[in-house]
């Protein structure tokens, strides 16, 4: 019993305990789901009812929170430099006067380009707010100048109205976007490191090795699958992550994925005798896969050699699947992923067994030579 606890304690910590504590903590951390209340600095070079209305329209959204009214445009930039704000609005002097004279004054928006998570979103939201104000102003002008009815004036000011529909994650929910795959990746790392040191050449030979190999592979793949399913259960039950896919489809591909991870990891453990070094090599291979696997930064945007490298990483075929399966309920590359995992398992198992036979016979030969 004590031996079993000793044997399973570390895998339990790596595959279950750490990932699940982090899963709950990270979901709770992102419970606002969207990045709201983005700190914003404003310079109002022109203090009129119109400019106050423009600023108020930013304040009225959930997206922005005005943290600073600056005395100059430079001060807005300075506020962004020290991280006090990440979005800036600069309304120039005589804005209203120039507007009334149809001189097309310019409103400047400043975006902190280092804050990628909020930059594109603030750009969209800020443009929308200013555009609404602008179209409102144009309608007034067209009504006054050309005696147009409100609707005609609207269609003159904005002939094409634009609607946008975000499929899959319409509310830009960060938990939905990031956490299913990231947590699966973490479980993958725990699984890979746990299995990198379980089967070592020299400890088992021949049939004994094969039995041990497949038994361990199945055991660990089942543990990994269970952990991922538990993670999905927590996210969907307590943190409103949708589950639109089919549970059997999820279980099947997850089990295949975990087997592929274990097969690759055990292959490395059969060729590297030193367990610590095998674990380090496995970690170095699996940890970057959450980046190289194209989960946050798409594969198509990476250079070709990296795209090729990604093809040997199981996570490349799983991260996107998991997110799409939960958010959209389907994944067109399902069969491709499944076949790839089966191939990885086969290649990993065959090469491990061959490698073991090769190295074992070498060990036996060396022993015979030593005996003689």
């Amino acid at each position: 019993m004590k031996k079993a606890i000793k044997q399973w304690l570390m895998p339990l910590i790596l595959i279950f305990i750490i990932p699940h504590i982090i899963n709950i903590g990270a979901c709770y951390m992102m419970n606002d789901k969207q990045i709201k209340d983005i700190p914003m600095a404003v310079y109002m070079g022109d203090q009129t009812a119109l400019t106050r209305q423009i600023v108020q329209s930013f304040e009225d959204t959930e997206t922005f929170r005005i943290v600073k009214y600056a005395d100059s445009a430079d001060e807005v930039e300075a506020s962004m430099a020290v991280g006090e704000s990440v979005y800036g609005l600069v309304i120039p002097e005589d804005f209203t006067k120039d507007l009334k004279k149809y001189k097309s004054p310019t409103i400047l928006t400043l975006i902190d380009g280092t804050q990628l998570s909020s930059a594109a979103f603030t750009r969209i939201q800020g443009t929308e707010i200013l555009l609404t104000t602008k179209i409102g102003g144009m309608i007034n002008v067209f009504q006054a100048k050309f005696d147009l009815a409100t609707e005609d004036a609207l269609h003159t000011a904005a002939p094409i109205s634009i609607t946008t529909r975000l499929l899959g994650n319409p509310t830009r929910n960060y938990i939905n976007f990031l956490l299913p795959g990231m947590m699966a990746s973490l479980i993958q790392i725990g699984l890979a490191m746990s299995t990198a040191s379980i089967v070592t050449v020299g400890e088992h030979r021949g049939l004994d090795f094969e039995k041990c190999y497949f038994k361990q592979m199945l055991l660990y793949a089942m543990a990994g699958t269970l952990s991922i399913l538990l993670m999905v259960l927590v996210q969907t039950t307590f943190f409103e992550v949708p589950f639109r896919g089919n549970i059997l489809g999820l279980i099947l591909l997850t089990f295949a994925f975990c087997n592929a991870v274990v097969a690759l990891s055990m292959f490395l453990s059969t060729i590297i005798k030193n367990k610590v070094f095998a674990t380090q090599v496995v970690a170095v291979f699996f940890i970057p896969s959450s980046i190289i696997g194209g989960y946050t930064w798409p594969l198509v945007a990476m250079p070709l050699p990296i795209q090729k490298l990604a093809t040997i990483m199981p996570f490349t075929y799983y991260g996107d699947f998991l997110r799409s399966w939960l958010l959209e309920g389907n994944y067109t590359q399902y069969n491709h992923s499944l076949v790839t995992f089966v191939l990885m398992i086969a290649i990993g198992a065959v090469t491990s067994l061959m490698m073991n036979r090769l190295l074992s016979s070498k060990v036996v030969k060396e022993a015979i030579v030593l005996e003689n």
Binding site: L14, I22, G25, A26, Y28, M29, N31, M80, L99, Y102, S104, P105, T106, I107, L108, L110, I111, G113, T114, Q115, S117, A120, R123, I124, T127, L131, G137, M138, V141, F142, F146, E151, T156, A157, A158, P159, I160, S161, I162, T163, T164, L167, G168, P170, R172, Y174, L178, M182, G190, S194, K275, V276, I287, I291, M302, P303, I306, S324, N330, T332
Partner: protein
Amino acid sequence: MKISRFIEEIKKFFATPKNIVIMVLGPLFFTCLFGYVYSNDYLNRVPMAVLDMDQSSLSRSLIDKFDDNERYELNYIVSDMGELESVIESKEAVIGLFIPPDFEKDIKSKKGATAAMIIDGTNIAIGNNAMATGSEILNTVNAGITISFLEGKSVPPRLASNYAQLFKMNSRTLWDEKLSYKTYILPGMILVLVQQLFLSIFVVNYIEDRSNLVEKSLLHIVIGAVTYGLCFLTLKKVLHISLLGNVFIASGLVFLYLCCLLGIAITIGKVLNDRLKATQFCMMMSLPSFLTAGYVWPAFKMPVLITGVVKALWPLIYLVSPLRDYIIKGVFPVGFQTTLLGLVIFGILWMTIGVKAFKKTVEV
């Protein structure tokens, strides 16, 4: 601390090539690898699908505007809405443009028309960028149509343009105009790389040989800080990321950071007391420590409870974002002194625990 012991530790460190490979070459290799991964600044040529139910000159010119933009690559012309949604759901296209029937006719008769952008929102980074550029194109086209309307009403071209551009909206992106992933991720990631590889080597070496703790710690910390400096220079000189911060100040801060991490490292060594387990644990902490450090999800949006727990258990949250901001902008963020004080207090508290653990081990 004795010089002779320090020299002894230097000899031991460099006698094991694995130490140099993992602690020095490892962070440099990953800095270059990830720099290469993110070498395409923009997500260009986003696959796009179009459903044009109008087939007019206006709709074609609108499609051309998208096709001419380097952000999009028109891959699919589909014939119905189901097909449009299907290519997006299958990820064959990231953005779909729908132009309804009578689009041009409705615009010319001033009834107004609606164009729809359908975007795959499962990846926020791609979706937001695709949407921002698409909206800009449609707004430009809108302005052009408004101007031609007004000119049709005998308004002089310049005045028509000023009516249509009642006010201009200029947007300036500071420090990283291209909004690249490279500049966003790498300046923070190098600290995580140095931290992880420092931990995995130091803890293992500490478990193997507990002699000369002060000298051993100092040597590992110095090598960690120097490696960080080399990674910084790699970002600047090799990957051409614009960094305004000073490499010596940044490396000095990393030196302080690693000092504050030492207590945790010694405690891990004492608790696990096994090289394999320590390696597994240290490597396992890389993703969680980065995820909870206020980098991916901003610290100002983190619940107080989580911030408190993270600040008590792992020091990365104190330094990763401020240091990244410093090396990119060349200015320390507001409240940095308080943050630094928090880091030092963290380091002292964990060092107290670590020293107790060390003494206990030595006594045993």
